[in-house]
Symmetry: C2
Subunit: 336 residues, 2 copies
């Protein structure tokens, strides 16, 4: 079923049919209606691939995230999808699985598919990578992890240093002096900046950041579990832990509970992104919550806008305010 068929049926040219479908140019009112009717009757659906080829854009927004199972990323995707839908675009989603190799491949794939733009939480750190992304000529909007490069890109993020600072400050205010941190790969800005905020806070409060309590792993449960277990083997334990994302903390908590210790009585805990969709996570986690849906929405909007404006070389860095949700996992210890 294509233009040709309905044109033939009506004994008119395909360009006229095309015109009424696209609402471009003037078409006689009667023929327009006849065409519309026939289209409906025959159930014609335009071939988007052909359109895209002609248009040189696939009306599609690409999204690449490290882990679609993480509800933070799922919410971002939903946000992108919402604006995409409104703008008559669709969304291709890819999971990089925290693997820079896969990320690169998927970026290539998306480019080949002529996406209008890419929303990406990169896991890469090599500036060359971003130059390559840049040279593609289509808009890349970064969130979560920012590109390590001098090139200009659009960015939608929170202030991770500040948020890390605030989160650590909360622990300090609860009277904690022995703090440990679990964070992710240091070439990922979110991991590095959250650590930086943590450091800054401790230093300003006359506390020392103890190297043996700076645990650098991956943003996964297994990683948090492993690092925490190392710490638990030692004589001296921190009184509070700070995790750069939820999965790291969940792993750490597992280790803590297995050891027979409890939260927050023995060890208090806070983290980023612990957005409890179930409402049943115990202990309830004190956490910095990013406005995930909004991040996706804004990122999507930037891409649609740039597409309309022929990719004008204007770059925005949008900094959103996260929320600090205080919960039982960091409650002050009664007594000492």
């Amino acid at each position: 079923m294509q233009l040709k068929d309905i044109a033939k049926r009506l004994n008119i040219s395909i360009s006229t049919v095309s015109r009424v479908i696209n609402g471009t140019g003037r078409v006689n009112k009667d023929t327009r209606e006849l065409i519309l009717k026939t289209i409906k009757e025959m159930g014609y659906q335009p071939n988007e691939v052909a359109r895209s080829l002609k248009r040189k854009s696939a009306n599609t927004i690409g999204v690449i995230v490290p882990d679609i199972s993480n509800s933070f990323y799922a919410s971002v995707i939903k946000g992108v999808e919402k604006v995409a839908r409104e703008g008559e675009h669709s969304v291709i989603v890819c999971n990089s699985d925290e693997d820079i190799q896969k990320e690169e491949e998927y970026v290539q794939l998306m480019l080949q598919k002529q996406v209008a733009g890419l929303v990406i939480a990169t896991v890469g750190g090599d500036p060359q990578l971003f130059e390559q992304y840049k040279s593609s000529g289509i808009p890349f909007v970064f969130f979560d992890n920012l590109p390590n490069t001098e090139e200009n890109f659009d960015i939608v993020t929170i202030d991770n240093v500040k948020a890390g600072y605030e989160l650590a400050k909360h622990l300090v205010e609860q009277g904690h002096e022995k703090l440990a941190i679990l964070t992710g790969p240091q070439h990922q800005s979110s991991a590095a900046e959250r650590l930086q905020g943590f450091r800054k806070c401790l230093e300003e409060n006359g506390l020392s950041v103890r190297d043996e309590w700076v645990g650098v792993g991956e943003f996964r449960r297994e990683s948090g579990y492993k690092i925490m277990n190392e710490w638990l083997k030692r004589d001296e334990l921190p009184t509070a832990i700070f995790a750069a994302n939820d999965f790291l903390l969940y792993g750490a908590i597992k280790a803590i509970l297995e050891k027979g210790l409890s939260i927050p009585q023995d060890i208090a805990a806070v983290c980023f992104d612990a957005n409890d969709e179930t409402g049943l996570i115990r202990p309830q986690i004190t956490s910095v919550i990013q406005p995930a849906d909004l991040i996706g929405t804004i990122a999507g909007e930037i891409i649609l806008r740039k597409e309309k404006n022929k990719n004008r070389p204007v770059f925005e860095k949008i900094v959103l305010e996260p929320k600090l949700i205080i919960n039982e996992s960091s409650q002050k210890r009664i007594g000492g």
Copy 2:
């Protein structure tokens, strides 16, 4: 950057270049290497849209789920993506948001985009809808909810009646006689069949299914919360509740806890799909766990296979075994 450019640079025809890129036909070894080298140098990327137009397929698998935030669906998507990647396909993901209207729109969109096939957890119930899907001519693989139609489709599912039966049986074996059920829209097969299994079990065990304890809502937390609150207002309470999915149960548990009751001491609880990614959900839920990743994998494979075999009219109904995970939420009451 296109075929033309590299052909021009080398003073050869574009078809030769095309041949080496696709590895089709015989090409002189030296020219092949020269071409490969030049492609790399110039950083040529084939235009997938043009290829797709020619090929009449976009090498893409479409996936439509009701809610990408639900970890069950997220895992299915991951499964599809894995096989898609291996088969050099990509995945377009859409959220129907449990809205049949959106689902239809997205199906149309996917068809227009010439996807190779569609993996879908439909939320629709009208047979006409499925005839329409059928007439598209591309393979639809259903999971989770099955199409309400006589038409043949590929299906990857668990036996929901049986699983519902087993889950209810577990409660009965724990000594429960006053059972309530929370389920989803009855035009969705998963909701209806799980209820059916529940009924069958109670009847076989000489227990009555009390209409006032059959709560039909949507597969959302709010729905479970609302229905449970109604029940909690009455004098007589069930001693156990059975929910057709995790979100329904999470909502119900919220209501129960707010009322000052506890699980499983006052009310035991079981459900489908409570796959705890965090490991911190309390109480830990007794649940039927579907092999989500495998569902996605198999569904993706079916589509790739059909694409290869020119959509041979062979339809498979694949029934997978779920796991019943027994946890504290359904523990036997000590005493009475």
